[in-house]
Symmetry: C2
Subunit: 131 residues, 2 copies
């Protein structure tokens, strides 16, 4: 079976969830979404292409930031609607906020405060330029 045929894009209206990990460390870098076209392009290019839900368009990761993601491995979950992408991240930061990972804030105690737990590597202005 072709990987594209194994995936159930229809369960959530055309989109699957993609969890992206640093292939070297296993750290979760980000979570985003893919439609069948972006999944197919990811397989073709060997670089990650998401579907942007906010812009409603294909999103070649790193197109504006240079922070591309080269695919090392793709895993599929038991109910065929989520993929796990192991990638080699170009540049230190996967997150548009300049952190390595989008998950840089922690809920420290149940019902308590939220705290930044990671080090910012770059500012968004350094990544995308001042707007």
């Amino acid at each position: 079976m072709e990987p594209i045929d194994a995936i159930d894009f229809e369960k959530a209206g055309g989109l699957i969830t993609a969890v992206t990990l640093d292939d070297a460390t296993g750290d979760v870098l980000m979570v985003a979404y893919m439609n069948s076209e972006s999944f197919r392009k990811t397989l073709e290019l060997g670089e990650v292409v998401y579907w942007s839900r906010s812009r409603n368009e294909l999103w070649v990761k790193g197109e504006s930031s240079g922070h591309t993601q080269e695919v090392a491995e793709i895993l599929i979950d038991c109910d065929d609607d989520t993929v796990l992408l192991k990638v080699r991240q170009t540049g230190g930061a996967a997150c548009h906020e300049g952190y390595k990972s989008c998950f840089f804030r922690s809920v420290r105690e149940a019902g308590a405060r939220i705290e930044i737990t990671e080090t910012r590597l770059e500012t968004p202005e350094a990544i995308y330029g001042r707007k």
Copy 2:
């Protein structure tokens, strides 16, 4: 700010994505969804409660299998619509298919076949009983 207020449940129609990791190893165990009630209950109980999209009800993880997930830490992503749950998994298998992780199949080559890469720890019959 309370953690529950920090999260944007409305972006995807009341649900956020939850990526669940083994706190000891960092391995991704599963991906599921939460509404505000399940997130609040997770904070209260210290055990993970998802929202089942297929059954359309609160899903106390492990309620039928005994494979509960005790919360070690919760991280929130940069755009407030995804959480990363670090858990202590009871029993070896987080997946209803009897694998440690739901991501037990790999796309081996672009455009090529899908392969099971993990060891099955239990059968679904052993977990849930024969139906």
